[in-house]
């Protein structure tokens, strides 16, 4: 050992426990297919393949997105070989596309290259916000569904747009919490809750996750899953953050199913008033009252 700082100085990221895999009585199903984990990881921005491997394993994820435009044919040592080795399903995305026509072409390329008809459709309006272009997105989703794709649509946190995407036949809608890469969390939780309460296909919170509490909140708001990319790949210890997000998704899902208590304005004691000790009663054993 001749290097100054061994890899072991980073906090260890333990392997996922059984708790990070979803329960059999609460399966996560998209387009009739069950996914073992409600956490989906993005693979862009990795600092090294080893680090990405650690994060993927620690997250317990069963599906990871891959940008079709960024990834060439997978040679030895490449990203696709890694996902294949770990048994993680590839979800191609159309990142970088600005029009429906471009997204359509990219999705067709992805179907050939990756042998899957699943696609996460992204149609981005500009480089400063990376926000979805609603009009092009609807066109792209409609055309892709018509061509037989299983479409997961990255969208704004707009309940009406989300409904339109469901009506177009999308298998899942993926509203953003905040713009891509900002780590600003869920800026409009009320809209996300409106979306999850009005939509019957799975809602997956995508973009904006900065840390575990953001992922937990998404699940508490009724999301069926969470997609995180930069939150993991740009964390100081990606594997540990991946594990934290998996735990948060699990915890948030359980909380959503358990049902939170109603919010009240004033306090309500959890123990009854009856039988309490008053200062006038002599304490047992005859000691002084404190």
């Amino acid at each position: 050992m001749t290097t100054t700082a061994p890899r072991g100085t980073a906090p260890a990221a333990p392997a996922p426990t059984a708790g990070t895999r979803e329960r059999p009585d609460d399966p996560f199903v998209i387009a009739g297919e069950e996914l073992p984990s409600r956490l989906i990881l993005g693979t862009g921005g990795m600092r090294s393949l080893d680090e990405l491997r650690g994060a993927l394993v620690a997250s317990g994820t069963s599906m990871a997105t891959v940008a079709v435009r960024r990834v060439g044919p997978g040679g030895p040592g490449g990203l696709l070989a890694l996902l294949d080795e770990l048994g993680i399903r590839v979800l191609p995305n159309t990142a970088g596309c600005g029009t429906a026509a471009e997204a359509l072409l990219t999705a067709r390329l992805a179907r050939e290259a990756f042998g899957t008809s699943w696609v996460k459709v992204e149609v981005i309006a500009d480089d400063d916000t990376l926000l979805p272009d609603a009009i092009e997105l609807i066109d792209a989703a409609t055309a892709l569904v018509d061509e037989g794709f299983t479409v997961l649509a990255y969208t704004n946190d707009d309940p009406i747009l989300a409904s339109r995407l469901e009506q177009a036949g999308c298998a899942a809608v993926m509203p953003l919490g905040a713009p891509i890469g900002t780590g600003l969390g869920i800026r409009n939780p009320h809209n996300i809750e409106l979306i999850t309460s009005r939509i019957s296909v799975p809602v997956i919170l995508d973009a904006g996750i900065g840390t575990a509490s953001d992922a937990c909140l998404a699940m508490e708001l009724g999301c069926a899953g969470v997609l995180a990319a930069s939150a993991v790949t740009r964390a100081q210890h990606p594997a540990l953050m991946a594990r934290a997000l998996a735990d948060a998704v699990s915890g948030g899902r359980a909380a959503a199913r358990a049902g939170r208590i109603p919010r009240r304005h004033l306090a309500e004691a959890s123990s009854p008033d009856a039988g309490r000790v008053t200062p006038l009663d002599p304490p047992p054993g005859g000691g002084t009252v404190r």
Binding site: M1, R7, P76
Partner: protein, 393 residues
């Protein structure tokens, strides 16, 4: 090149900066050497920017690389002067240091986080305000909001180094074989005995050193377990030339511009290298308009006078990336076969250290020091197995 005559002690396959340095160093160590490459000194070596940046290249999770990169930087001054003495060619080693700068407040926060991390590793980095940055480098934009001074990160003109190495090898008696190597020749005992060339001839060798950048799949005969798990990561650099009175920084300027890394490396002759893109793909080695646009957009955000420079060159190259971003250097399980590669973003920086270590290896000395942790065996557990530097002893 026929298979007649005495076999050289060492045949180096691949004439990037790593292979060239190994050939020259081995020759200096007294070995007879041949180097096989149709165009030595080109490829990623030609595209690189030449930063010798043991500090600014270190990020979270790359702690095991620190000692290696620092040792590699230490090897450069004597290597450069030796090369200049052997050839009479200057190689443009500049020691003005590096300034890391932030283009906006979010970039500043990100840089401050990395600066703290680098300081925690004991690396010499000092945080600076925007005004302090501009006082050191008046060419910087007034919008720069802060940064860090990294006095130990230097640069060399990688193209001059490549040309000097070819000249030094030729003058020093290395046999330069301008042919493509197609595969390994394996003896009856399972040991490497030479190299087959694309023209059908063979070149016998005492030891074969394979240094193929990203082209390992075009060379047959290496046992699969000994092939470094390398993937190509395409990068584009631009070369500009300062004109007239346009301001040019003296230090290397590395910026974070709205989240993307950009750098300007000023040569002594007025050339400024701007880089670099990073795409997870291999060929074709085309320079896209978008790559040029993105590089210039970010460079002029940092140094506005870039607008006045002449654009003289745009070159694409393939970085050989490994799962842990560290190089792969050492003897393999096959007798007579050494591999050297996987230098990723640090090929120029690492070459003198690798050259010296491999020259020692082929003349009978095992690799010692930080490089010993980066042998080819560490990926044996599978692609990116966890037997990496720092976990091996």
């Amino acid at each position: 090149m026929a298979s007649t005559g005495a076999a050289p002690d060492v045949v180096v396959v691949g004439g990037g900066i790593v292979g060239l340095t190994i050939a020259w160093s081995s020759r200096q160590a007294g070995a007879t050497v041949a180097l096989v490459d149709p165009s030595p000194g080109r490829g990623a070596t030609w595209a690189a920017a030449g930063m010798l940046a043991p500090v600014t290249e270190v990020h979270f999770g790359e702690e095991p690389l620190v000692a290696l990169l620092l040792a590699a930087a230490e090897a450069w001054p004597s290597f450069a002067s030796g090369l200049e003495a052997a050839t009479g060619h200057p190689v443009g080693l500049r020691t003005e240091g590096t300034l890391v700068v932030a283009a906006d407040r979010s970039d500043r926060i990100a840089i401050d986080q990395v600066t703290l991390f680098q300081r925690s590793l004991g690396l010499p980095v000092t945080a600076l305000t925007g005004r302090e940055c501009r006082a050191l480098e008046p060419a910087l934009a007034s919008s720069i909001v802060g940064g860090a001074d990294v006095p130990g990160d230097h640069q060399v003109d990688n193209r001059l180094v490549a040309e000097a190495l070819v000249a030094a090898c030729t003058a020093g008696g290395v046999t330069m074989v301008a042919e493509r190597a197609s595969g390994l020749v394996v003896g009856p005992g399972g040991q490497a005995t030479g190299v087959a060339l694309a023209d059908g001839s063979t070149l016998p060798a005492g030891t074969v050193v394979v240094s193929l950048g990203t082209e390992w799949d075009r060379f047959s005969g290496i046992p699969p377990a000994a092939v470094p798990p390398v993937r190509p990561v395409l990068g584009v650099t631009l070369r500009l030339r300062a004109r007239g009175t346009a301001l040019v920084p003296a230090r290397t300027v590395r910026g974070l511009v709205h989240g993307s890394v950009s750098y300007l490396v000023p040569r002594a002759d007025g050339t400024v290298v701007v880089g670099a893109t990073a795409e997870e793909r291999g060929e074709p080695l085309e320079v896209t308009a978008g790559a040029v646009h993105g590089l210039l957009r970010d460079a002029r955000t940092l140094v506005p006078s870039v607008d006045e420079y002449a654009l003289v060159d745009a070159t694409a190259g393939l970085r050989p990336g490994t799962p842990d971003n560290g190089p792969v250097v050492g003897a393999t399980d096959m007798a007579g076969l050494v591999v050297a590669g996987g230098t990723y973003r640090n090929g120029i920086l690492l070459s003198p250290l690798i050259g010296r270590a491999v020259a020692g290896l082929v003349t009978g000395t095992a690799i010692a020091g930080p490089l010993a942790a980066f042998g080819p065996g560490r990926f044996a557990a599978g692609l990116g197995g966890r037997q990496v530097a720092g976990a091996t002893s």
